[in-house]
Symmetry: C2
Subunit: 352 residues, 2 copies
DNA sequence: TTGTATGCGTTATCAG
DNA sequence: CTGATAACGCATACAA
């Protein structure tokens, strides 16, 4: 037995009415007699009638669904964002359709086509690490699809954006490392093209400059696939620790890269912070509950999801003119752990 | 400008053909001349035609979407499950619509109505902690909606289920505590009615019995809302540590309860494992990368999501007769941490 | 107050 | 090979 199909037609037939009468009765139209209304409503309840939203969507040309594309659902930052997204969507009667790019440009494009052809009313995106070509988003946006970017935004597209102050997050983290006595601070980032990469690297560099710590090109490393491939992070970290002078601390510029660095350092049996310092972006709840040997930069992921969705729904429902697109910037939170404060054990060779 | 709608009709008009011809040409029907086909296909590509899936859904009476209801997306176990769900759905051209119950029965029912009325082809569910009445699921299932349960299943409903061996997970964890020298082992669980609660408590009790450790009713505590309210866990833990004899270890029977216990113990300034032992279910990636003072039971969440989705799609596409419903049981993984092994510091009063 | 006809975008059936 | 028509479920302009 296939899933049901009790329609307005069924009600009409059973009650000897026309479909329009039934339709109007169900919508509590003023032009239907109380008796008929009661009759229809009661019968509808009895046979458990529910309007077919697909038919409604076809008629109203809107699906009451929004699409979400993130790189990875099973990433604390994104799952918390999606939590926020779902919260607002739920409140407003919207469905949330999720898909993940896994940092792949190709997959992002496929999902994009997939979702839009699935007739979503709007789109929430945090772009993939691989993505350098934003023309697909641009085209879609130009064709009138409401899009709101969060976290990893596309500056070339004029729409709402929700981010944290990435510059500040990286700046504060770097300063914290410097003030903790580290002098050879490496940075591991996502793909160079990503908005978050640019901003975070800029904050890192500024902190170094402001504290008269020399910046070294060799200390700045990018992971084209956002650290999704552990080989990628492995290579980068292996490379960094073989440098002379060896970095005495690493700044990991994303959730995934933080866990990636942790993994590799652990595999290499390098103890944090004894052998090497580590600070990174992380939204894992656990890091707040136990005393890990690393300090973290935490993003208000839930709020970001909420705000982004709120903006998107306003766009969809045209509650505000499309002229004043805004970029909401939230504060990241630097969480300092005592156990992370011990300085390096003189493991590195020279100093500068 | 609203998001546009280039339809078959537009193509037909532009090319001076009928909609049926265009439709057939697009579907590469054998009864259309190569020239016409070429003409249509090229024009369609040029104006970027995409079939309207809503219209298709209405016609085909299927949406190529599956619904997912979990208690909380921002929970490692569930976000990893959803990752697996999305993977399989993506491979098979299905969309994933997510919603969360937040452990609330009421919200679960609302989401259920919402999703099914949204015309999903099937449903993946891990039931809310609060839920004691499964009639909504039952009714839906009876009406023909394909449902697959995972993690928290409804035994009363005859359909596919995907779980881990909860009995074994709890048994092994309890045995580990006993063998580590703990003797007063408390258990903190979800709502009593939940399948996972029953199975895990059974495993806990069996391990106690097998090792001749006396079971105490006062040591077994339930959280009706799955620990979503931190007050709930707070109360339970406060109560436990005030008992005489005070438990020297706690077994937390879900991800949320593990973090909940961690939070409360931390707030109470009780050190793990020095003041009190703790072991719990957890799927947080971080716990594997740093040396936390607790051992964990980890579930193959991703695989569970994959398997559940696979079964659901088979159900939807009727690839197998609806007679042989199965319950797939996977192995949980007990991850022992050295730093968790130190025994209690004689803090507890008596022993038995 | 209620019924009839039309359209949303697509495909299937039936003619030609 | 191609075109006209009906149908999927619903809402609504227009009649009655």
């Amino acid at each position: 037995m296939k899933f049901e199909a009790v329609t307005i037609k069924d009600i009409a037939k059973a009650l000897g009415l026309s479909t329009s009468t039934v339709s109007r009765a169900l919508r509590d139209s003023y032009e239907i007699s109380p008796e008929t209304k009661k009759l229809v409503l009661e019968y509808a309840a009895k046979i458990n009638y529910h309007p077919n939203p697909i038919a409604l969507s076809l008629k109203e040309r809107r699906s009451h669904s929004i699409g979400v594309i993130v790189s990875e659902i099973a990433n604390s930052f994104f799952s918390q964002s999606i939590d926020g997204i779902e919260s607002i969507a739920y409140k407003n009667g919207y469905n949330v359709i999720i898909s993940q790019s896994r940092e792949s440009f190709e997959r992002e494009v496929i999902n994009l086509n997939y979702l839009t052809s699935r007739s979503i009313d709007g789109l929430l995106v945090s772009v993939a690490a691989e993505t350098k070509d934003f023309s697909n988003f641009k085209e879609l946006h130009d064709r009138g699809m409401p899009i709101v970017f969060f976290d990893r935004v596309v500056n070339e597209i004029n729409t709402h954006k929700v981010i944290v102050d990435n510059y500040k997050g990286a700046y504060d983290a770097t300063r914290y490392l410097i003030e903790s006595g580290y002098t050879n601070i490496a940075a591991v980032a996502n793909n160079e093209v990503l908005s978050i990469t640019k901003d975070r690297i800029a904050g890192y560099k500024a902190a170094l400059a402001d504290h008269h710590v020399q910046e070294r090109d060799a200390y700045i490393r990018y992971c084209a696939h956002g650290g999704l491939l552990s080989s990628e992070v492995e290579e980068v970290v292996a490379d960094l620790v073989s440098l002379d002078p060896r970095p005495d601390a690493i700044l990991a510029l994303s959730d995934k890269l933080t866990t990636g660095c942790l993994r590799i350092l652990k595999a290499k049996n390098l103890k944090i912070p004894h052998d090497i310092g580590l600070i990174g972006f992380s939204n894992s709840e656990i890091t707040e509950l136990i005393e890990p040997p690393l300090s973290i930069i935490k993003q208000p992921a839930f709020e970001m999801g909420e705000i982004a969705t709120d903006l998107l729904l306003q766009l969809i429902e045209s509650k505000r003119p499309v002229t004043d697109f805004e970029t909401k910037m939230l504060e990241p939170q630097l969480i300092i752990r005592e156990s992370a404060k011990r300085k390096r054990a003189g493991a590195s060779a020279g100093s500068q």
